[in-house]
Point group: D3
Chain length 306, copies 6
């Protein structure tokens, strides 16, 4: 039986990411896929705790060869599926600590980390682990929302709306190279965008991106990040709800999936040291189209590394 490779059909077998081995042995691994099934800091729809499992399931559709990037990442790289972090749903601090510990174990072993969320709060402990190793990182951030609020819930510093404010506060981000792409929709007030800009974000709104065209956007990203260690964080809500309905805080008027694929492929050439894919909420998806998109975006990231 062939279920450990893409020779098996997508409906068959145990669902690890891309049918790669489920192990915590880091020796010899190039890339580790890590799930973080945590959704307790979302401000609208919970459910992204099921994101890692759904993305894994749909990743079985990734036949192996990337025709756009002309590479077979699962052959070129040794990829492992590390499984999930043991999160603590009612306690974000304990959860973040657990994430950071696992992430540190992986990245400190020299293994590139691709994390599947979970809500966007998880980028903070991931950046902590990355910055502890690499120093402040350049940040390419796809999202409908800036996620640079100071406080989303009274008195709580941590949530899915604050990770990048906290990361900047903690010195984890090289703010000379922080690009936000896809921002749109209503916010609490005019200060939301202003705050992001003031923190150093180079904000390319959805409207900007559509007007300027993706090549121009990618060229700006390329020049800003040139020579830097880059972390990529993709909130699936950068994409329009028609293409990605399964998310926690859907925002109409976003990217198509074709545009999103082009954007990720366009990061070719950057020195990407890690990435996360967050806010996929399967209970609000239909027929897995959001998870299929997320799996493909993960495949494009792996292909960049291959």
């Amino acid at each position: 039986m062939s279920e450990s490779s893409f020779a098996a059909q997508p409906y068959a077998g145990i669902a690890t990411f891309g049918r790669q081995p489920h192990t915590r042995e880091l020796n010899g691994a190039d890339v580790a896929i890590l799930g973080v099934p945590y959704d307790s800091s979302t401000s609208y729809r919970s459910g992204c705790r099921f994101g890692p499992r759904a993305i894994r399931e749909q990743s079985l559709l990734l036949w192996g060869y990337n025709n756009a990037q002309k590479v077979s990442p699962f052959q070129t790289l040794k990829v492992i599926d590390y499984g999930d972090v043991d999160v603590v749903p009612p306690d974000i601090v304990a959860t973040h600590k657990a994430i950071q510990d696992v992430a540190a174990r992986i990245v400190n072993a020299g293994v590139t980390l691709l994390t599947l969320g979970g809500d966007h709060s998880i980028s903070l402990p991931l950046l902590r682990a990355q910055a502890a190793l690499h120093g402040p990182v350049a940040l390419v951030h796809f999202d409908a929302h800036p996620d640079t609020w100071d406080c989303e819930y009274a008195g709580q510093p941590f949530s899915h709306g604050t990770p990048f404010r906290r990361a900047i506060d903690e010195g984890l981000v090289d703010t000379s190279a922080y690009v936000q792409i896809g921002i749109r929709g209503p916010t609490a007030g005019p200060q939301d965008y202003a705050d992001a800009l003031q923190l150093g974000a180079r904000m390319i709104t959805l409207d900007d991106a559509v007007e300027r065209g993706l090549p121009a956007v990618l060229s700006e990203v390329g020049s800003v990040c040139a020579g830097k260690k880059v972390y990529v964080t993709i909130d699936i809500d950068a994409v329009d709800p028609a293409f990605a309905p399964g998310t926690g805080t859907p925002e109409v008027g976003g990217f198509t999936s074709h545009q999103m694929l082009k954007l990720v492929r366009g990061l070719k050439g950057l020195n990407i040291i890690g990435a996360d894919l967050v806010e996929v909420s399967p209970p609000f998806d239909h027929s897995g189209i959001t998870s299929i998109l997320a799996a493909n975006l993960g495949f494009e990231l792996l292909s960049l590394w291959a």
Copy 2:
């Protein structure tokens, strides 16, 4: 507790439109939101009687500040949620009378009226109330269908396919300024479009709009409506079913939600005296994406007024 403002999270509290007060006191109000939960004249899928409730629920995602129009409509304007008209499902004439009575009460009090449908037949009594106050109005009409049939069901003058024929018959529309945008798909015969044109509609089909580009479309709308009192009616099926599946007579090949947002924002500068958003059918929606779009379109309309 803060649930009466956007400080509350979208999952919390009683769902009025944009968390505005639910009242029938018109004194001091600038804009009234009115629901019309009527779906008995639809020719395919019923269900838009649940449109007002679903749009209200998703309107809690409208954090308050419109970054595209740079305005906080709920601060600039005093908006109230008037609740719903007491419709009479099996009797369209009684229903239309109830709608017209409530609408007249609101507009005659000098309050701008934004109505959430309900099927498109409701535009007729709304136009009656508007024209009684303002005289014949210019009409900007987003739709996949002309809705200018003479008769949809044997012997019945009123239905969701006839409101604008009836409105023109009754002298409610300034036919020198009637623009239809987004028309497409099959019709009963070649006379459907011909009839609309002959009634005075300036028809910009979906194909026209895509070919000419939205700025050209908006410029034509602007010059046609300049100096006139304009009523805006948005049938959500102007938008493609991928973005707005929750509707009664879906028509493939329509606008994206990004295009639709651009079109509504592009009405800036017109003297819009009232508007309706119709044909949102929640039982055929998924994860509320159609209602979220409708709520955002309502927010854009409010922002035009702010």
Copy 3:
């Protein structure tokens, strides 16, 4: 227009519980309905943060007169819809404090409190508020699970699996009058049931209840609770997933909705000082049948008080 009463149809108007007034004025109120949209301590499916809104919506089907109990609770009692507690999703301690504060305000004003969850962890702060006023209370607890674990997540005392252990630890429950009804399904080990029993719970498993018959069960409950102040907590998963699919940790082989209605009606005669209905998770419901059941159970509780 009549939308403030049951003269309006269920599809119309703003959804407060039973169309009762949404207010925080406690003066003159007999019963307050309170929502707690918190789901961050669930161990499987999140989503019950949407429970209060969905139950309110379906409560519009409760035409007013209870033919089984022969009473019109909304006429006999002055019921208000207090709205929702401002929960803090990533922080269970802050959330519990907010719940307790609101609950204390209500019960200390002499208003009977019926709370709509939310996950089962919320019963702890509710019991704190009740016990502060009434002393340790008798507890009638419908559930598939004992919820008396000591610890569900490493190091965390609070979660939806531990509320009654904590409540007993804190002296909030009169353990001579603690009845669990409907318990079934796998547990971590044999000690789960043993622990519950050892804490004082009188456990009537689902199998016991079916074997002995509901009248015998109710008679036992009645004699145990006679003369005591009784708090009732209903986890909707006491009911079989066929009747209540919309819940976080579904357990097959449960009560029918008919049985559940009979059980709640059978509490007639007890001195019930408060109650909660928890674990309704609308994203996993279909066509609202779980919320409709929960709304009816709430109606039966109100009818007991009327």
Copy 4:
């Protein structure tokens, strides 16, 4: 190819009821199946206009032989699928006239009529056609609700809550033989049941039926209806929403599908001159389980006639 018989599999071919010929030729027919896709008088969820199509689709699962009644109704009887009435959604009076005309044509030709609704208002014109031929008929009425309101919407005599009041007013029902079975749930007031009783209905509530047992219920029905011409009307909401979620006004605590099958089979021996199956609302169904049940109930009725 064999698609015109049950030799074809259920997924194949054009969906007429039980794969019987779609024709309006009444000559030689024993039973006609008639659809009435009308849902404009429902007081909660619309959608039962899709009932006839969905029941036809699921009727392809009825392999032909009834093992409980030991008869092959499609062989014993010549059954035709007459198609649907041309309803007029916004006008209940015109719709009722159209129903009555078609029904009269069928029953006057000596063909037994089994009608698939549509909302319960359609029973009125069906009873008109039956009573015109047969005089006042005995009525066996399965339902959660009495449907004997005088007026559901201000000033409107006709709706899905009033058909049997109107039928009695018009002398269409032999009130000495009117049995209601399955009634339960809240009503507007105590007068709802009282009114039904006062009109002559022999009301067997759900609780009565469960307590007395189905054989006793059936025995009462049998003695009441003995020697009379009986019309059977089945509102699918007599059945619990777990078994029949796809309906307009779901009422928890109802019959199981097994009980409902037993009840219909138990009508054996009555002189049933016609029947209808109403309130199946496919947009609120899941995986067609409600339509499958309705198709089976229709099959049981046909088997009674065979």
Copy 5:
């Protein structure tokens, strides 16, 4: 991290059955779980190719200790998840050969085999593997349908409606001990039941089972199978669609999940040498309730062996 045991929460980690190791090493194993994702011989709804994956996912809810049987099967037994057979969707003969080969490898190694389907045709190659080792086996068969047709599709001996006819033809079943339980609904003709009886099946229809009561049914099963090697095959459609909507040929009026659990537990004492659970079709399920039931039935079977 603890995801390899039930200390992990059900939403976390890689989904093997009951979190048991995924391996093909049979040495030391007591029970192997095997998936057969094959649905090409179903006569109505396909989709049960996704049964094994869905049952595995929901099996993570099985906390470990069976309170009804008072045993911890995953501790008492060494259970492995063998993964899935490499089926060949367009070719039933090749698929059956693949199934038989894998099953033979497992049972010949002395490992008890619990198979998750897949459609019911798969029982044939499973019985071939069992009978090759054990000789003709006693058969306890839960189903709505006899599945003893001679031919379901013109000229094709194999399909999901014929496995037990073929098995008897091939001498795999001890027809003196073949019990069918739960049979109901329409069939092609009176000969369907007659054929089953004539082949030796002891048919306990659903109606028989309800009338006689489950203890009597179980007692008959016990005496028939006493002293024999028993194979158990559970078609999930033995259960009512309200409890198990996710199946290929749903039949109304079936067992409740509580009854089904009781029936399986009641097999205690039989010498069960293998079992399968078939016809779970996740695309037609909602919120996984059918898969949760199937996982629990698997757990009960394991507990019988423990």
Copy 6:
């Protein structure tokens, strides 16, 4: 009653394609619609056996006049709905033979054949029937995948991934005029595209098509196919899952429905001798948007012929 024409509303009546007569009389017919409810060779999600029924149902929305092509195909052409082929789910060879026999009967009678699938394997027997009459045909093939694998399942020449390899092997395709449009996504290896090209396919990937623009694509198709007999095969997965979620192997980043309509309309002028529409899988669709699109694509094809 008018249900045999588009005068009936889409919710009414028996669903044949475009309400055309269901008959197997070919005399006088111009076009026959044929359903092939076969899904046993799909490599991921089954369910397209329900494609023909769902497309027929949604085809009732096609009011009759094509405003883009300015033609009324159901008036210009005599179209019949031939019903479905009697497929044999577990046996692809028998199924293909049945398809070829029916198709041959139709095309040999001089009737143009439009087939509704079913999975893509069905194009092979359809091409056999066409080529037997016409000789090798030019092929315009819309798809996300080349479908020119040599073998998808071990040892099986036939499946939904191999039809065009087999067709070329059998000499059914004029490889000088074989255009593939919309290809994208991962494949097993680099040889997948290379193989297709080597077999003669002119591959226009999705990225090519977007870059070059649809007019350029259509112009190439036109010049390649000029003067040839052209067969058109449309796999609905050429379209993006946002617009066509209901399909077996969804591939993100595809055409919009507007683009797809333009592409089919752009085939005007070709000598199209037959066509199929495949891989519509209703269990994975929502609100029928995929089926509505497919029905419209069928309508555009009919309009090309009119």
